[in-house]
């Protein structure tokens, strides 16, 4: 079963990569952003399974993005693989640092404190002239192992880069979910004192999960910065985090694939909504969120497993 789903996942990534040259350019750009954001959602799913909802994941997202942007501006490092990994490392370090405070909290306190943390970064970015202030600044195009593609070729290259990182990280996260530390998420959510009595430090485990989700968000932010070629403080704003939480709820925390499908659907709906009903976007978002929470508490992913469950029963 497990091997089967890895195979399907690998196949899906290969197909997604192979059909790219025949897809319309707007769809490629959209999928690029969607998959970059899906990595952030993946991190949210890890925390969600532990019963934690971070309302400030944009903090790590923005750290990843700004790291890439600053490397392009102040250093000669241009290789996309290097800058993304450096961005992830920085995001991980920040996650490790704030983790000392955040890992002590649960439920809404965790949610709102992580929000406050991201607002600190937002405040710094807005007020700092050298970081571009409210306008943000341009991100260097970067090189792919020495190549420097242009125009649509560059878009495709970025798309494949995002897919590559996504495939590797999705595989690693699903490995993590089947490890002991990963599997302890639900028990912590249900009753963390019992987990403590098993001789496991819940705070340290949550700290680790925070760092993992921070790294994922850092990669997502770094890739998004490369794709959009611009960074601005809105990346750290709490509405960005809200968007990630939204996708997590919509997709459900049931599987790794849900993050990617959910993120893609979210970006598609967003671009359609902006085209057809501009100015109503937040209302649509809010309504869908509300309906999902009320009627599909486990997200769209649970529809699939429900159908499967019915099939098995009949």
């Amino acid at each position: 079963m497990r091997r089967g789903s890895y195979l399907i996942g690998a196949l899906a990534f290969i197909v997604a990569a192979a059909i790219a040259p025949w897809l319309p350019p707007w769809l490629v750009s959209l999928a690029t952003i969607a998959f970059a954001n899906a990595l952030v959602v993946l991190g949210l799913i890890i925390l969600w399974r532990t019963g934690l909802v971070p309302f400030g994941q944009a903090l790590f997202y923005a750290v990843g993005a700004y790291t890439v942007a600053l490397l392009g501006r102040y250093t000669p490092i241009r290789d996309v693989f290097v800058v993304v990994i450096v961005g992830a490392v920085f995001a991980g370090i920040i996650a490790w640092l704030v983790g000392f405070l955040l890992a002590r909290y649960r439920e809404i306190f965790f949610a709102m404190l992580s929000l406050a943390m991201s607002m600190i970064l937002y405040g710094i970015l807005v007020k700092t002239e050298t970081l571009g202030s409210t306008d943000g600044f341009h991100v260097e195009a970067g090189t792919f192992l020495g190549f420097r593609p242009d125009g649509q070729e560059r878009n495709l290259a970025i798309y494949w880069l995002v897919l590559g990182f996504s495939a590797v990280l999705a595989f690693l996260v699903s490995l993590y979910f089947s490890s002991v530390a990963g599997a302890l998420g639900n028990p912590i959510r249900d009753n963390e004192i019992r987990v403590e009595f098993l001789g496991i430090s819940v705070d340290r485990l949550i700290h680790l999960k925070l760092v993992i989700s921070g790294v994922l968000a850092g990669v997502g932010g770094a890739l998004a910065a490369l794709a959009v070629q611009h960074v601005d403080p809105a990346m750290a704003y709490w509405t960005t985090s809200g968007g990630f939480v939204f996708v997590t709820i919509l997709a459900g925390a049931g599987s790794v694939a849900a993050a990617f499908v959910g993120s893609l659907v979210f970006e598609l709906v967003r671009s359609l909504a902006v085209d057809f009903v501009p100015g109503e976007w937040q209302m649509i978002l809010g309504t869908v969120l509300l309906l999902t929470i009320l009627f599909l508490p486990d997200g769209l992913g649970s529809l699939v497993s429900r159908l499967r469950g019915n099939k098995a029963a009949s």
Binding site: G51, V53, L101, R104, Y105, E107, I108, F109, A111, M112, L113, L115, A116, M117, M119, I120, Y122, G123, I124, V126, K127, T128, N191, I193, R194, W238, T239, G242, V245, I249, G279, E280, W281, Q282, M283, L285, G286, T287, L289, L290, I293, L294, P297
Partner: protein
């Protein structure tokens, strides 16, 4: 010396504002254990309502004093209606669900209401400066203080004192204290907990709208004012200890003075300092200064 004096006065005014905005949030959290993100919407609706009311009143050249009252009443009425719709229409459906889920529900409602504001009032910004001008100002030494700001401080103090008195000595306040302490026991003793919830939510909504109405003359009423307020109010409430009125007061004073100090000494730290103070306080007291001890449930 002058700077110190300016910091204290600015800090007090800002603290008064923060307290008026945060008190409704902390009340709702204390009683219902709901972190109400729509509090930002109440604030925004209050501010917009007050600005509209000011437009209606002052365009006709009616007397100043009544205009301010009209603004406040308009805002509170909007808060009442909005609170009723939210509590009866949406929140009622999720009582008993996870606290985090309820936060997300209020977040969803907040998103919807943001666009409702655009729908009703459009994208332009409004001004309601008249009460501020009408109140005038006085000179204290070398500083000029606006009478409106002084009034705001007095009002905040009044709300704090009345709030505390009402919780301790009125029948409803005592019922509230019981519900806060143990919802189930309260219900077992025949207290209508659902009614207490509804009334509390409405009071909280009206306090949020009142905050917006009182701030309307001092700011440009424009899109996105609700977003900033909810994050700020949360910081204040978290410092003080969520659910505590005294905590909100102390939190507002700390944040207000810290921000005023930052503005006068190092302006680029303005936004940063608020959250830095919060992180510092929570580093030592994880659940705020006036938090109650929570028993561990096994």
């Amino acid at each position: 010396m002058l700077t110190a004096f300016a910091i204290v006065t600015d800090g007090l005014v800002y603290a008064a504002y923060l307290f008026l905005v945060a008190v409704g949030l902390t009340l709702i959290f204390g009683v219902m254990k709901i972190l109400n993100v729509t509090h930002g919407s109440f604030y925004a609706f209050g501010a917009y309502g007050a600005a509209t009311a000011a437009g209606i009143w002052f365009d006709r050249g009616l007397p100043d004093a009544g205009g301010f009252l009209f603004m406040v009443l308009m805002a509170m009425a909007i808060g009442l209606v909005l609170g009723m719709v939210l509590e009866r229409g949406i929140l009622r459906l999720v009582y008993g669900r996870d606290e985090v889920v309820v936060v997300l529900v209020t977040y969803a409602a907040f998103l919807i209401l943001e666009d409702v504001i655009t729908f009703i009032w459009g994208p332009r910004s409004y001004a309601a400066y008249q009460p501020m001008v009408a109140a005038g100002s006085i000179d204290v030494g070398e500083l000029t203080l606006s009478n409106y700001d002084i009034g705001l401080v007095v009002l905040a103090a009044a709300v704090a004192i009345i709030g505390r008195w009402a919780l301790k000595y009125t029948r409803y306040g005592r019922l509230l204290t019981v519900v806060i302490f143990d919802r189930e026991t309260a219900a077992a003793y025949g207290i209508n907990v659902k009614l207490v919830y509804t009334v509390t939510f409405l009071i909280g909504a009206m306090l949020g709208a009142l905050g917006g109405a009182l701030m309307a003359p001092k700011i440009s009423v424009t899109l996105g004012i609700g977003v900033e307020v909810i994050v700020l109010a949360f910081a204040v409430v978290a410092i003080g200890g969520m659910g505590s009125v005294e905590g909100a007061l102390i939190g507002a004073l700390i944040v207000g003075l810290a921000r005023a100090a930052a503005v006068h000494i190092a302006p680029q730290l303005e936004l940063f300092v608020i959250y830095a103070v919060m992180a510092l306080v929570l580093g030592f007291r994880p659940y705020g200064l006036f938090s109650q001890i929570q028993p561990r449930k096994i």
